[in-house]
């Protein structure tokens, strides 16, 4: 192996790793706030990426309709929950969030979508759509069972993944899609060529890590979100709106997922089911980070990306096997370092 190949592989690994880091961060975020292990994170990635790719062709993606439909369900659930104290203010607020918002997004998408729409508008629209889906997903699937065990939440999460992935097939078809690059700028250092795209990936990842760290470490809202995860009842007793915490977490996660998708869809062709695998690799990083630490997750993600790049060069057949078995030594170390702690379940 010469140094050039090694540098190329490393560069490739770091670009992939940065994406995994973003997803890993989102997973840690959601878990830390809601205790949900967010398997459908991968669907946020594909929905973001493929909505963007469809918008770039001038068409309206089906996801805009999905957001609308989920909004309707969320509104119905809100009304059902509040059926004993149906106050106008409450209904109006729910109406604004669950009906008006997705309707506006849908209208905006229809109004703006076209073959000549600027890239920035398409990105904004995709982000809006996926953000709304993330928000409603929490309301519909997780809010009613937010108090249950991690396990029940995990199984629900798997259910969401199945449903969303199936919908992805309906909206985007079985063919893969690619989106236009964000910028055509490029930079050459020695043998390596950095595209504007990959620089954007690095920049955004670093920005998100710092932003999340600042948000959770130093703001009242961030601390409130963490408090919700530790003890929902306690958080509610001191006046934290736990539902809001969950919604914010899902909103952030879906936006992060969609951004990751938009960042990679110009580099590789994405299929409706690609997100699952990408999300799972973010997962491995998150697990290595113990589902709590942002910097550790980011470092782990870079390692996962690099291992993937090197194994695809040396043993391309076993790339996935190697990446997914990477988790086993980590789990062994964890089980040796921290033997099971007593948990009260049910």
């Amino acid at each position: 192996m010469n140094t050039t190949i090694m540098l190329f592989l490393l560069q490739d690994g770091i670009t992939n790793g940065a994406i995994y880091a973003l997803l890993g961060l989102a997973l840690v975020l959601v878990f830390a706030v809601t205790r949900v292990i967010l398997i459908p994170q991968g669907e946020f990635v594909t929905f973001g990426a493929l909505s963007y790719a469809v918008l770039a062709t001038g068409k309206v993606p089906g996801t805009a309709w999905l957001a609308m439909a989920m909004g309707l369900v969320a509104f119905a659930l809100d009304l059902f929950d509040a059926r004993r104290s149906l106050r106008l203010k409450r209904v109006l607020r729910s109406l604004a969030l669950n009906i008006v918002l997705p309707a506006a997004i849908l209208a905006l998408t229809y109004g703006l979508a076209g073959p000549k729409t600027p890239i920035a508008v398409n990105i904004a629209l995709s982000l809006l759509i996926v953000a709304a889906i993330g928000l409603f997903l929490y309301r519909i699937a997780f809010q009613p069972i937010a108090h249950t065990s991690v396990l029940v939440l995990l199984i629900a999460s798997v259910g969401c993944h199945l449903a969303l992935q199936g919908l992805g097939l309906v909206f985007f078809g079985a063919e893969g899609l690619r989106g236009p690059a964000l910028s055509n700028a490029a930079l050459t250092i020695g043998p390596l060529r950095f595209t504007g795209q990959s620089l954007a990936v690095y920049g955004l990842t670093i920005a998100f890590i710092i932003a999340l760290w600042l948000f959770f470490g130093f703001t009242l809202m961030g601390k409130a979100l963490r408090a919700t995860a530790v003890n929902r009842l306690g958080a509610r007793l001191v006046g934290i709106r736990t539902t809001l915490s969950g919604q914010i977490a899902f909103l952030l996660a879906s936006v992060i997922g969609a951004i990751s998708g938009i960042l990679i869809v110009p580099i590789t062709t994405l299929y409706y089911d690609t997100g699952f695998l990408i999300g799972l690799k973010g997962f491995i990083a998150a697990i290595i980070g113990g589902l709590v630490s942002y910097p550790l997750t980011a470092v782990a993600a870079l390692i996962v990306g690099s291992v993937e790049a090197f194994s695809s060069f040396y043993a391309s057949n076993f790339k996935e096997v190697i990446v997914f078995t990477l988790i086993l030594p980590v789990l062994v170390l964890r089980s040796l370092a921290a033997p099971a702690v007593e948990e009260e379940k049910d």
Partner: protein
């Protein structure tokens, strides 16, 4: 026999179905698929529903079973019957290797780990040359008896359903035994089980391997049913679907697995054949409906369909009353010696900068009731945890009858005859009082998992249950013996814990706030019981806040405050001790 009767009827019905004229062959194929899925789901019932360990990776174990027989029969010409034990063995060994790595993990790491290795193994199956890569292996010979080859679905049907029925019976036998109780206690955490000698990691590994072997059996049958094996049915989505089946049927119930498999397989078939008509020719639409149904089901009926069905049945299964005359060997008691039963020397426990127990020394002699009192946070429960091995000491020594136990695991401490109750009741709420108490006698039985599965443990088991029933009678809960522990009042649950501790046949009984939640009369009855135990040769060390109760009962009192022993003496001396009064009332009165 009345528990077996429904199983027998079910077996006869299943045996008759293929002979009913006019049954479409397609139904038989569906029933075969149901049987195959039920086998895997049954393993998950034990693993997830009963043992509390969630696995998304069971499909991979089916893969081990299927590929083992596929390779051996096609490439090496083995007979399919010869590969059956080998398939089960390979699945089992894979489970042992993965289990050693994963089952020690607590909480959500296990399901995550199973997703990861489930996918890893799927890719391994689809990349290995000798497994035929993505195409898999075809031309697997059918099962045959003599010259009779099980070629069509209607004949292998019998092999599949005999497998299901035998597995169900073995699983039910296993759950209704000494080992079964240890498994059923896993879900509620490991501390209570370990305090009575259950080797929790071993029990977890056991269910993990058991579930994998059932999956391996399903894979072996699948390979000879389809006569081919390829990676697709052993991937991540199949693993998720098996868990779905277990949850739909009722994750805690053996027959829930069969019911769940029936519901899911039939539903999937209907969705696959009708959804394309409704929505146009798209494939995979059933996954959307599946996912949504899973989420809805968790919100509406998290325990599954089987328990719901059972609750609506007019007939309740009866239960055998244990024969309390069966004796259980008693612990050998050393003749009264001068040595203390429990000797604590400068025991110390630090949590970071907090000293929870600060060089505490005291002892408990034979036939003595000692009370450990002190304000909240004085370190009483921590001292209990140090004695029973739940926590390790930072310094000092603790010995029971001269054996040092300060860093011994709980399972070793209980062997020396130290039994305990917990401040926060640790019973299994969905087990009966009798079953909960019988966990206390865990170390006094010896039958293992295999013996239980084949009902070779009955003599041993009857003695354990007899002992449990005697102790329940002794503490005065004879009327509640068949009720679920979770349905009793908190005070009664504490008494159940005492009965469980008595099942150890202990020399020393550690009671953590036994009188909390009891009414006056109940407290008096408890005090009488404890005196009777002492006069029978047992020692008692108790933590209690009810001063009237303590002062009446205890022979000696040790007072802790902020982790330090501030006084020790007879009740009369303690009542007037100025340090004690200061600790409790904040001033020298």
């Amino acid at each position: 026999m009345h528990q077996r009767l429904p199983v027998l009827i079910f077996a006869l019905v299943m045996a008759a179905i293929p002979f009913i004229p006019g049954v479409p062959p397609f139904w038989i194929v569906l029933l075969n698929n149901i049987g195959l899925a039920a086998l895997v789901a049954m393993g998950l019932v034990l693993l997830t529903g009963v043992g509390g360990l969630t696995s998304f990776g069971q499909a991979a174990f089916c893969g081990f079973g299927a590929y083992t027989t596929a390779v051996l029969t096609t490439a090496y010409g083995f007979s399919p019957w010869l590969t059956l034990p080998l398939s089960l063995l390979v699945s089992g060994i894979a489970a042992v290797l993965l289990g050693i790595v994963t089952v020690r993990l607590s909480g959500h790491y296990l399901p995550l780990g199973t997703i990861a290795w489930g996918i890893g193994l799927f890719y391994l199956f689809s990349k290995l040359e000798f497994l035929g890569r993505n195409d898999g292996i075809s031309g697997i010979p059918p099962l045959s008896i003599g010259n009779f080859k099980m070629l069509d679905p209607g004949t292998i049907y019998f092999a599949i359903w005999i497998g299901v029925l035998i597995s169900a019976l073995l699983t039910m036998n296993l759950l209704d035994s000494r080992t079964g109780r240890a498994i059923r206690a896993l879900r509620r955490g490991h501390i209570a089980g370990e305090a009575f000698g259950v080797q929790t990691p071993r029990a977890k590994l056991l269910v993990f391997v058991y579930a994998a072997v059932l999956a391996g059996l399903s894979g072996w049958l699948y390979a000879h049913f389809q006569r081919a094996a390829n990676p697709t049915p052993f991937g991540a989505h199949a693993g998720i679907e098996y868990l779905f089946i277990a949850v739909v049927g009722g994750a805690g119930y053996v027959w829930g697995a069969v019911l769940g498999a029936g519901i899911v397989v039939v539903l999937k078939e209907i969705l696959q054949s009708y959804l394309p008509y409704i929505f146009g020719g798209q494939s995979q639409l059933e996954t959307i409906v599946f996912g949504i149904l899973l989420v809805v089901l968790l919100q509406l009926a998290p325990t599954g369909v089987w328990p719901w069905l059972m609750a609506h049945l007019p007939i309740k299964p009866g239960r055998k009353v244990p024969d309390t005359s069966l004796p259980l060997a008693k612990r050998e008691r050393a003749p009264a010696t001068a040595a203390a039963l429990l000797q604590i020397e400068k025991a110390r426990k630090q949590f970071g900068g907090v000293i929870a127990v600060n060089d505490v020394s005291f002892d408990v002699q034979a036939r003595e009731i000692v009370a450990l009192i002190g304000p909240n946070g004085a370190g009483k429960s921590t001292t209990f945890n140090l004695i029973t091995g739940v926590l390790t000491t930072t310094g000092g020594t603790i010995s029971v009858l001269g054996h040092k136990v300060d860093n011994a695991p709980p399972q070793e401490v209980v062997k020396l005859g130290v039994a305990r109750t917990f401040q926060h009741v640790k019973l299994v709420p969905d087990m009966t009082v009798l079953e909960n108490v019988a966990i206390g006698a865990h170390l006094r039985g010896s039958s293992g998992a295999v013996a239980s599965m084949f009902r070779l443990d009955r003599a041993d088991e009857a003695k354990l249950l007899a002992e449990a029933a005697r102790q329940i009678e002794r503490v005065g809960l004879g009327d509640q013996i068949d009720q679920l522990a979770g349905s009793l009042s908190l005070g009664q649950q504490r008494i159940v814990e005492i009965a469980r501790a008595l099942c150890v046949d202990p020399l020393l009984l550690l009671l953590d706030e036994p009188a909390a939640g009891l009414r006056h009369m109940e407290k008096q009855r408890l005090a009488a019981l404890l005196r009777q135990l002492r006069d029978g040769g047992m020692s008692v060390l108790l933590v209690e806040h009810d001063m009237g109760f303590v002062m009446d009962l205890a022979d000696r009192i040790v007072v802790l405050d902020f982790g330090t022993k501030i006084a020790e003496g007879t009740p009369a001396a303690i009542k007037t001790n100025p340090d004690v009064i200061k600790a409790y009332l904040g001033a020298t009165a």
